[in-house]
Symmetry: C2
Subunit: 256 residues, 2 copies
């Protein structure tokens, strides 16, 4: 059997701790190519760079692992990998992460990690976005590595119909504290923001975006938000057709 | 009846030609507040700014119109409007655009215009993203203004169940050439990129992202891509739940 090839990317940057953990997961399954942002790209969603040139840098190359840093967004990294660096190779899976902080619920839309995973799934292979619900600089990635391996392994070994993109979130804590894996749907909810207002040394006001997630369905037990809050790894399969089919019916004739 | 309040934003910047056209549409219906990016934010998707402070600038204020430029992304602009500037007011509709270039098919995911529209729909009012399928600097916005008015007017006057977010794309050409409005679903497809490689004056290679849209279902006649290509204004209602419900069933038991 030919050796598998895993593309790894993230939104925290090529030299983040979560990237180290993601490479650990990916190397279990074959050869690894990392194409990841030079700098942090958190909250970059599925953004692409249209009006700036992008620099690519080979960071290191060793047996079974090549690491590139790219000056663009997470999605730019995926495009650079598939459409340029790995153009003549077959990629078996895209792993994006491990993100510092969860991407459950509506965060899937803002997340650069998930933007890259969705983009990866456009290229005819399964994609997994993997996030750890812990923002601490010294976060413990052990459970995320363990469950990341289990989920990536299941996708690679047992196969799945394509397109397949998974939004995987691992709760904070030691592996022994995790209660298992739950397949979920995306929790409805939104962010209400507070803008912190300050003044710069020249007296100009500036703002920091900061907010609080409002759970739109706190009672629901089949959502990623519930699973994470109750100690489970949440797995939400995501797809890229945003059509609101219910509204499509309701609006029939409205604009004629 | 109290005067209506329309929030206008875009991804091309507060002083773009498309913004002028959007304000023309919005002023038909009431008081207008513009909160739009200082500079072009095309391709910014639903990105938010997490690690930089943001500057807000009042550009001008006249009877029925206030214009603010904000140094963040389109989504940052929407958040700034709802959670800060207009915190104590009721916004009746968010209009995002008019974008230079279409946002049909998968482009809805990369588009800053649609990112802002989707964000707007989280705040309990209808949102319309309006784009013109013409990238030319001297593009003719007349048809987009005309159909924008018709669609915004229908939403405001006839009402619609919330959440409601519309992805509206207007074909290139004079109003008389438009064949009507079609409610559609999002066309499947993806971009295959070509990276143009050049060298900077210091000999370092750099890349420009450039690509071509691959229509994943060229035969389908119920999609936005088909409507636009055949001279119709396409209207796709979009929503923010990315859950892939078919995969949710298929994957049952896979990760236990």
């Amino acid at each position: 059997m030919e050796e598998r090839l895993i593309l790894v990317t993230n939104d925290d940057g090529y030299d983040s701790r979560g990237m180290e953990a993601a490479v650990e997961v990916a190397r279990t399954f074959g050869r690894v190519v990392v194409v990841a942002p030079e700098t942090t790209q958190s909250g970059m969603s599925q953004a692409i760079t249209m009006y700036s040139p992008l620099y690519l840098r080979s960071v290191r190359e060793e047996e079974g692992l090549a690491v590139y840093a790219f000056s663009g967004t997470p999605v730019d990294c995926v495009k650079m990998a598939f459409d340029c660096l790995l153009r003549d190779e077959r990629v078996d899976l895209v792993l994006s992460g491990i993100n510092h902080g969860s991407n459950s619920a509506v965060n899937v839309l803002y997340s650069g990690t998930m933007g890259a995973a969705i983009e990866g799934s456009f290229y005819g292979c399964p994609a997994v976005g993997l996030s750890l619900d812990d923002h601490a600089a010294d976060a413990d990635f052990e459970a995320a590595v363990l469950y990341g391996r289990r989920i990536v392994g299941a996708v690679l070994d047992r196969g799945a119909e394509l397109p397949l993109c998974l939004n995987v979130n691992v709760p904070k804590g030691r592996p022994g504290e995790v209660r298992g894996v739950r397949l979920c749907r995306q929790n409805r909810g939104f962010w209400r923001e507070e803008f912190f207002r300050r003044e710069d040394p020249r007296g100009r006001p500036y703002f920091w975006l900061t907010g609080e997630f409002v759970n739109g369905e706190p009672g629901a037990t089949d959502t990623d938000e519930w699973a994470l809050a109750h100690g489970y790894v949440s797995v939400v399969p995501v797809q890229a057709d945003l059509t609101d089919y219910r509204q499509l019916k309701r609006l029939d004739g409205m604009f004629e």
